[in-house]
Each structure stands twice: as C-alpha cells, then as structure tokens.
C-alpha cells in the first residue's frame, strides 16, 4: 500500500499506524455516557469508501485522514487531520 502523505509524499504503508474510522467525533464532555459508548465502540465499518486515521509515525509524525476504499484499497485522498474534517 502506498499512502500519499501530504507532507512527505507517497510512502509505503509500513511507515504508518492505523487507527480506524475517522468519522466518530469525540462528544462534548457533558454529552453523557451513551454518546461516549457510541463514539468509542460503535463503527460503521463500511465496505467501500471510508475516511480513516493513519499516523505517519515513521515519517512526519502527523495524523492523516485518508480516504480509502476497503474493497479495493484504492486511496483517493489524504490530508493532515489537523484542520480537516473527516
């Protein structure tokens, strides 16, 4: 897998750590337990396009949002997570 890091350029997937679906957003502190249970545990797990978090730990040390197809592994976009909405 080749991940197009917005800073480093395209790199081998082995340089990155995966952290799953980027869609769930951490609820507000007072959102209550159910909201946190949903945020922490429940996943859409789509077969197709997904926006996900990858960490370029062996590169620029940035968290990325990568748009990838889980059926084909084709990556259509990658951006820095900081300042991007999933």
């Amino acid at each position: 897998m080749r991940i197009p890091c917005p800073y480093c350029g395209e790199r081998d997937g082995a340089e990155f750590t995966y952290c799953g679906d980027a869609s769930p957003v951490r609820p507000a502190a007072d959102a209550g337990e159910a909201a946190f249970v949903d945020y922490v545990y429940m996943r859409s797990n789509p077969a197709g396009e997904i926006s996900e978090h990858w960490y370029h730990g062996q590169g620029c040390r940035n968290w990325l949002i990568v748009k990838r197809n889980t059926r084909t592994h084709v990556i259509s976009a990658a951006m820095l997570a900081k300042g991007s909405a999933p």
Binding site: C8, E15, Q58, C60, R61, N62
Partner: protein, 204 residues
C-alpha cells in the same frame, strides 16, 4: 571537580576500526559530532517564524521536506511546521540560545545528543541507502537539498542529501547505532562496497 567530560559518539567504536584511506568502490563515512541539533516547532505563525529565521541566518525556511543551509547552519523540514536545525561546530548550549531567539514563535527542543548523524559520501551511497529505505533516491527525485524521514531496517532515520558527490547524512536515534551499523556493514559487504573513514569534516 576540575575535569573535562568527553562526549561519546554513538558510532565511535565502529568508526575507529575503519581504514582511513579510500579506494575504488568505497564509501566515506564519519559521525557528525561537532554539530548541535534542535527540533524547532512553530507555534502557529509560520511566516513570522520564517522571517525571524531569515533575519538571523539568511535561510529561507523550507515548507516541505528539504534542507536549506547557509554553510554553517541548516534547517531541515521534517514535518508541517517542524524543522530540525543543525549547527556546525556549535557548543552544547546552542539549542537554548536558539530557543531564546525564537521565543514566542517556536518551541525548541535540544536534540544534539538524541541523534547520531552519519555522513556518507561516495558513488555507492545512493545504492546502499536504497537497499534500506523505501525512498526514491534517483537524482531526478532526490537531489541535493532533499530530505526524508523514513525507516531503514526497522530503525527510524532522517536522511538528507547535501551535495553532488553525492553526500548524504543519516540521522537516527543514538540508541540504535549498533544495530544500524550492522545493517550498513552487511549491506556494503553484499554490494562489494568498502567503508572508509572520512578524512576530517568538511564544512558545508
């Protein structure tokens, strides 16, 4: 206690055993011990930081993975808003002086001891490095001034190219030095490349 403490290079013992003369198909290698290094992290206003650095060093701060040098100081882009500053022949307090001069614009962490930096020069350097790093070192892609943070043999490295010799520098966390040396020497042997000690250290 009136004594002098001596810094230890991470590759000291390995380099000591290398022959000093170069011959055909050799790579010159030495450890950069006289330089100070620091991680410079922008606090948000990259333009102001770049201006301050330009004023201080005459260096145009790179916005991507490049190395820009004025011959004595260099800034290497290692991430968005993050640079590795390298100062040739600088003392152990250099990083804190930099921190003071960039106060408010950047956070600075001294990394002088954290990284062991090998300078590698010679025809075979590109091939040797590409054995380990999944990076395209073709001169059309990775010319002088190019930089990359990646891994070699499971070890995190920062690599930048300095000149057309070609000369590369490879920075890695010093605790990995022995394992990295093993990779370097076995790779050179496999390629039939001899390692020799760099004579002196050029100012670039």
């Amino acid at each position: 206690m009136a004594e002098i403490i001596i810094p230890r290079g991470a590759f000291e013992l390995h380099l000591r055993d290398l022959p000093p003369v170069s011959g055909a198909n050799t790579l010159k290698v030495d450890e950069r011990l006289e330089s100070a290094m620091a991680t410079v992290m922008s606090r948000g206003d990259n333009a102001a930081l770049a201006a301050r650095i330009h004023d201080a060093f005459g260096i145009v701060l790179p916005s991507g993975p490049q190395r820009v040098s004025n011959g004595v100081e260099a800034f290497i882009g290692v991430g968005p808003g993050v640079w590795l500053a390298v100062f040739e022949k600088a003392g152990p307090q250099r990083a804190s002086k930099l921190a003071a001069s960039l106060a408010g614009l950047a956070s600075v962490a001294d990394q002088t001891s954290a990284y062991a930096v090998l300078r590698i020069t010679g025809e075979a350097a590109r091939e040797v490095l590409s054995r380990g790093a999944f990076i395209d070192f073709d001169p059309s892609v990775f010319g002088p001034g190019s930089a990359a943070v990646t891994t070699i043999s499971h070890i995190g490295v920062s690599i930048w190219r300095i000149d057309d010799a070609p000369t590369f520098e490879v920075a890695l966390f010093r605790s990995y030095a022995d394992s990295f040396w093993h990779w370097l020497t076995t790779t050179c042997t496999a390629l039939g490349v001899g390692l020799v000690r760099h004579g002196g250290s050029a100012r670039i």
